[in-house]
Symmetry: C5
Subunit: 88 residues, 5 copies
Amino acid sequence: MMIGKVSGEIYSTINHPFYDGRKLLIVSLEHPAGGYIIAVDSVGAGVGERVLVLDEGNGARQVFAADNAPVRSAIVGIIDSVDVPGRD
Amino acid sequence: MMIGKVSGEIYSTINHPFYDGRKLLIVSLEHPAGGYIIAVDSVGAGVGERVLVLDEGNGARQVFAADNAPVRSAIVGIIDSVDVPGRD
Amino acid sequence: MMIGKVSGEIYSTINHPFYDGRKLLIVSLEHPAGGYIIAVDSVGAGVGERVLVLDEGNGARQVFAADNAPVRSAIVGIIDSVDVPGRD
Amino acid sequence: MMIGKVSGEIYSTINHPFYDGRKLLIVSLEHPAGGYIIAVDSVGAGVGERVLVLDEGNGARQVFAADNAPVRSAIVGIIDSVDVPGRD
Amino acid sequence: MMIGKVSGEIYSTINHPFYDGRKLLIVSLEHPAGGYIIAVDSVGAGVGERVLVLDEGNGARQVFAADNAPVRSAIVGIIDSVDVPGRD
């Protein structure tokens, strides 16, 4: 699992009905290598918010209670605070 | 899940019947580290189009409604637009 | 599987009941590329401890005996010692 | 899925009967980051050939029709040609 | 699947009974990016030996014939020789 900040939204023509009405967000990862991941929102996250991303298909399908959904990455939480002792 | 641009097509002799008539596309990833992924098309994508790629076997098999297919990466959407507030 | 040091804790609003009362920890990986992973604690690990992380959904769900949990990464062990012959 | 060139073969003592008589090949990946993957051949590939690699356990097990095989990476195709418009 | 050399052993307090009596080894990967992986031994490998690592949960569980084990990475073979034509 990873954390990052929602930086944008993607509008895409996707055939599978699972995606009807879902929000596809770009999450810029907090990681030395940078990068991003595209994830389906499950918590009402918006641009600028720090989020927790679950990047695993079977778990993501559980989040949406959709056993057959073609999904791998889901935003599963909005981060309230991060406590790293000794870091300014 | 990730986004990228279709840059080419691969012609390959593959024994498994799942691949008969499938299009195998090269997707150049939009990622700081660069790279590409080979994905099976499910939406009629062509060279030059920006696409959404699902890189997970169980999800990809759902996209093709083929429970036993030896596939991991599928192009599942054509990107219409990307909205990143604050980015030029 | 990988090893790292717990460097902090994340407080997040997550809807799925699996996360009620779980500790979400940041583990800084011992890896040349650096980086971190967010993992759910299963062994009572705390900040500063070296831990073993299992980063696979089906295995993580077994750790928590929660077949349907939306989880991928679990702290499964606290490292007592590492024996690398020939390394100072 | 990824492409690469077969660069060598590995001879290894493996206990699981799935590997009896299988060819374990080294595939040098065509990727900016370089690297390689060890994959089990399913198409009669040899050193010097460009191949398509499927790197996912459930899919690889389908390729070999071996539901319980301890395998993740399979060479599933020999590449006949790659068509990248605009690239010399 | 990947190859590497066993460089050390990890002693860890792990609650799950699967790990009772298992050897947790550090494998330094033969990869341009370097790095290591922690894997459970299944072949009697020791420090200094070149090994084949299977990094996939369902496959690793087959290796140990333990359907519910919280394991992802297993050492599945000891490498006898590597044949790379044209390489000194």
